[in-house]
Symmetry: C2
Subunit: 498 residues, 2 copies
C-alpha cells in the first residue's frame, strides 16, 4: 500500500514533469512569438529605428575596411581600432546627436592630445625620478577639474561628452607618453583614425535617411498642440452632453466619452526633458529642408513650456470631471453655451496653430478662433453676472464653476501659446499664404467668426431707469455642423458690459 502510493506519487510527479516538459516548447514558442511581435511593433511604430540599426552596421563595416585592406592597415596599424571605437560610441539616432558627439570628440581629442604632449615634455624636465610623480599630479588635477566642470548645467548640456573625451585622451597621452617614444606619431595616427571614424558617421547619418533632431522637435511640439486641441475640441460636447445623458439615464460617468478624453495630453506632462535634449541637438545641425542654419530652436522650448502649462490645467479639470459630487444641471445649463464655445474655439485655435506650424505658414488663421474664445470668456462672465438662482445648491455648483474657471485659465494659456507661435512665425519667417486679416469681407474669414451681433437699442418703454439697455441678438454660425447651430437666447445687456 505504502509502496503503491509512492509509486503513484512518482507516476504523478513524472506525468507532471512530462507535461511541463511537453509544454516547454509551447511556452518557448509563445515567448518567442511575443518577442517577435514586440520587435515588429517597435519597428512599425518608427521605421527609422530599423534604418538607424542598418546605418550603424554599415558604418562599422566600412570602418572595418581599415583593418581588412592591407595598404590602409600598414598606414594606420592598430590605431585603426580607434575608428571602430569612434563609430560605436559616436553614432546617435539623430543627426544633431551624432554631430555634437563627433565635434565634441574631435575637438576634445585635439586639445587633450596637445596638452598631453605638453605635459609629457614638462614632466620630462624633472628627470627619470620626478617624471611619473609630476605626471601623476597633472593627471589628478586635470581630471578632477574637468570632472567638476561637468556639474555646470551649461557644460553638462552641450559639452559633457567632450569633457569626458578630454579626460580620457589627456590621461592616455600623458600616461602612455612615459612609455611610447614616438608620441607625435601615435597622436597623429589616433587623431586621423578618429577623424575617419567620425567622418564616416557624419556622412552616413546626414546622407542616408537622416533623422533631424530639429524636425523631430518641430513635429513633437506641433503634435503636442494637436493633442491639446483634440482634448479641448471634444471636452465641451462630452462634459455637457454626458450630463444630459445622465439625466435621461443613458450615459454614465465612466462612459466611453470621458475615457476617450483621457488619452493624448498626458504624454505632454513629462515632455520637458526630451524637448530640451532635441533642442540642444538641433543647434548642432546644419540647415536642412525647411530649416535654415540659425533657426530659432530655443523658441520651441517656450511653446513647449506653455503647452505643458495647459496640460497641467487639463489634468486639474480631469479631476473635477471625475468628482463624485453631483453637478448642478441648472447651473450647468446656464454656462454651457460660453463654456462649450470656449473649449471648442480653443481647440480650433490650437488646431490652426498646429497646422500653421506643420505647414510653416502664417498662423493668423488662428486669430479669429482666439478672438472667439476671448469673446466666449467674456460671455461666461456676463452669464455668471446675469444669472441668479433661487435656492442655489452651492455644493452642486462648485464642480461646474471649477470647470468654467479652469477653462478660463486654459483660454488665457492658449492666448499665450498663440502669441508664442506668432513670434516663432516671425523669427522663422513662416510664409504668408493665407489671406490677410485686413479684408474681413471674404467669405472664409466671415465663416470663421462665430458670432455676428446685431445691436439695436431698446425703445424707451419702461420708466424704471433702465433706458440704457440694448438688446443684442446673437446668432451662432457653426462651420462644421450646421444642424447644431441653433440661435442663442436673446439676452439683455447693459452697454457698459459690452
Amino acid at each position: 500500500m505504502d509502496i503503491g502510493s509512492t509509486s503513484q506519487e512518482k507516476a504523478r510527479f513524472f506525468a507532471g514533469a512530462c507535461g511541463r516538459f511537453k509544454a516547454l516548447p509551447g511556452q518557448l514558442m509563445a515567448r518567442i512569438i511575443s518577442i517577435a511581435k514586440s520587435i515588429k511593433k517597435l519597428g512599425q511604430d518608427d521605421p527609422r529605428r530599423l534604418i538607424h540599426s542598418f546605418k550603424v552596421g554599415l558604418a562599422l563595416s566600412l570602418v572595418s575596411l581599415l583593418y581588412y585592406a592591407r595598404p590602409l592597415y600598414d598606414g594606420f596599424g592598430v590605431a585603426g581600432m580607434w575608428a571602430v571605437l569612434t563609430v560605436v560610441v559616436v553614432f546617435e539616432f539623430t543627426v544633431g546627436g551624432t554631430l555634437s558627439k563627433c565635434l565634441n570628440r574631435g575637438f576634445a581629442t585635439f586639445l587633450a592630445g596637445g596638452l598631453g604632449i605638453g605635459a609629457d615634455y614638462f614632466a620630462s624636465l624633472f628627470g627619470k625620478q620626478g617624471e611619473p610623480i609630476v605626471l601623476g599630479i597633472l593627471v589628478f588635477v586635470l581630471a578632477a577639474a574637468a570632472t567638476f566642470s561637468r556639474f555646470f548645467p551649461r557644460i553638462k548640456a552641450r559639452y559633457d561628452y567632450g569633457v569626458l573625451i578630454f579626460i580620457l585622451t589627456f590621461s592616455l597621452v600623458a600616461v602612455s607618453g612615459y612609455r611610447v617614444d614616438e608620441l607625435a606619431v601615435l597622436a597623429h595616427q589616433r587623431l586621423s583614425t578618429i577623424i575617419m571614424g567620425g567622418a564616416t558617421c557624419m556622412l552616413i547619418s546626414i546622407f542616408i535617411c537622416p533623422v533631424w533632431a530639429g524636425e523631430d522637435l518641430h513635429k513633437a511640439v506641433a503634435s503636442n498642440l494637436e493633442k491639446l486641441a483634440t482634448y479641448l475640441a471634444g471636452f465641451g460636447d462630452v462634459y455637457f452632453q454626458s450630463c444630459k445623458d445622465e439625466g435621461s439615464g443613458v450615459g454614465s460617468k465612466d462612459g466611453n466619452g470621458k475615457s476617450f478624453l483621457h488619452q493624448g495630453y498626458k504624454s505632454i506632462l513629462n515632455s520637458k526633458n526630451s524637448e530640451e535634449s532635441l533642442a540642444n541637438f538641433a543647434r548642432w545641425e546644419p540647415g536642412h529642408g525647411r530649416f535654415p542654419l540659425r533657426y530659432p530652436w530655443k523658441h520651441y522650448l517656450k511653446i513647449g513650456a506653455l503647452a505643458r502649462q495647459c496640460a497641467y490645467q487639463i489634468e486639474a479639470i480631469n479631476g473635477c470631471i471625475n468628482s463624485d459630487i453631483q453637478a448642478s444641471e441648472e447651473f450647468k445649463s446656464k454656462i454651457e453655451g460660453p463654456c462649450s464655445r470656449m473649449s471648442s474655439e480653443c481647440g480650433k485655435a490650437l488646431k490652426a496653430l498646429a497646422t500653421s506650424m506643420k505647414t510653416m505658414t502664417d498662423p493668423s488663421s488662428a486669430n479669429p478662433h482666439v478672438e472667439n474664445s476671448k469673446a466666449a470668456m467674456k460671455d461666461l462672465k456676463f452669464a455668471l453676472k446675469a444669472s441668479s438662482m433661487e435656492n442655489a445648491d452651492f455644493l452642486a455648483i462648485v464642480p461646474v464653476a471649477t470647470v468654467g474657471s479652469v477653462l478660463v485659465e486654459i483660454t488665457k494659456c492658449i492666448q499665450k501659446i498663440s502669441e508664442a507661435v506668432h513670434e516663432l512665425s516671425q523669427r522663422a519667417h513662416f510664409s504668408k499664404t493665407v489671406e490677410p486679416t485686413v479684408s474681413p469681407e471674404k467669405p472664409q474669414q466671415q465663416q470663421q467668426l462665430l458670432h455676428r451681433g446685431i445691436v439695436r437699442p431698446v425703445p424707451d418703454t419702461s420708466d424704471d431707469g433702465n433706458s440704457d439697455d440694448v438688446v443684442i441678438t446673437i446668432e451662432e454660425i457653426t462651420t462644421d455642423s450646421p444642424e447644431k447651430g441653433k440661435p442663442d437666447q436673446h439676452r439683455v445687456l447693459k452697454p457698459g458690459q459690452v
Copy 2:
C-alpha cells in the same frame, strides 16, 4: 579745420580704445570673479560634487600605476590603456551608476569577447578569401541587431551601456582577430585590465564618501512631500488672510505672501526623469546603511507620481489665486474655515509622512491629520449645502469655489499619498517607534485630533417634523497656536449628514 576734426576724431577713437583696453583687465577680472563665485556656489550647493571630482582624479592616478610600475607594465603592456579608459568612462556620480556601468561593461566585454573569438574561428573556416567577407557580414548583422535592441525601453533603461560595449568589443575582437594572432592573450589582457579599472572604480565609489542613488531617491521623494507640505501649510493663511488685507487696503495681489507660496513645488512638476534614473541605479546598489538589498525602490516612483499629481493641482490653484476676477468676500468667509483646515491638515499630514520617511519610522502619526482633512472636506460639503446667499454674484463666487474644489482634489490625492507611504512602510519594514493608534486616551493622540464633537439630541420643541435634528457643538483645539483657537459657530445638522 578738416584736419583738426579728423585728428580730434582720431584722438577720441584712441581715447575710447585706450579706455576699453584699460577696462579689459577689469572686465576679465570681473569675469574670473563671477566664474569663481559660480564654482564656489556649485561646490557649496552639494559638496559631494567636489569629493566626486577628487575621487575620479584618485582612481585615474591609481590606474596610471599600471603604466608607471615596470613589473605591472611588463605583464599588461599597452592593454593597461584599457584600465584608464574604463575608469574615465565608468566612474559615475552615484554608486549605483558606477556599479551598473561596471557590471554592464564587464559582462558585455566577456560575452562579446567570447562571441568575437567564435566568429573569428567560424570565419577562418571559409579560407583566406572568404574570411573578411564573413566577418564583415557578422559584424554588420550583430551590430545592427544590438543597436535595434537599444530601442526597447526595458533594455534602454538598464542595459544600454552594456549593449554599446557589446557592439564595441565584438567589432574590435572580430576585426582585429584577422590581424593579431594571439587573440586569446589579447582578450585575456583586455578583460583583466578592464576588471582592474572597474574594481578600482567600484572600491573607490563605495568606500570613499559614497553617494548612494537609493539614498538620494529616498531624500528627493521625502523632500518633495515636504515642499508640498510647505505650500499647503501656508496656503490657507495666505489666501484667506490676503483677502482680509485687501478689504482693509493693506495687502496686495502680488504681495510677499503669495509670491512666497510659489517657490518650492514647481521643481516637482518635472521630477519624473531624475526619479526614474535614480530608482534604476538604486537597484544595482548593495545594501547600505538603512536600506537592505531588496529594498522596494520601485515603490518610491509610485509616491513620486502621486506627489506630481498633487503638484499639478497646486499649479492649477495658483492660476486661480492670480485670477483678475474679484473674489466674493462673503462666499470666501463661508468656506474659509473648512478650506483653511483642509489645506493646513493636508500640510501637516504631508509633513508627518515626510518625517516618517526621513526617519524611517511608522507613518501612523499622519493618520489623525489625514482624518482631520477628510473631516474638513465633509465640513466643506456641509458648509456649501447649508449656505445660502441673497443676490449671489456667481462671477465672484467662481474663483473661490474653484479653490475649494481643487483643495478637495488635493485632499484626495494626499489620502492616496498617505496610503502609498503606509504601503512603503510595510514593505520596507519601517520601525514602529510611535505609540500605536489603538490607545486614543493618550494625551498626545488627543491633541492631534483637531475636533471633538459633543452630540446632544435637541428636545422635541418644534412640531414641524424636524424632531430628528441634533446639535453638534464643535470646539477647535489647535496645538500650535492656542490664541487662534476660537470655537466654531454651533451648527444644526441632520443625523444623516454626519
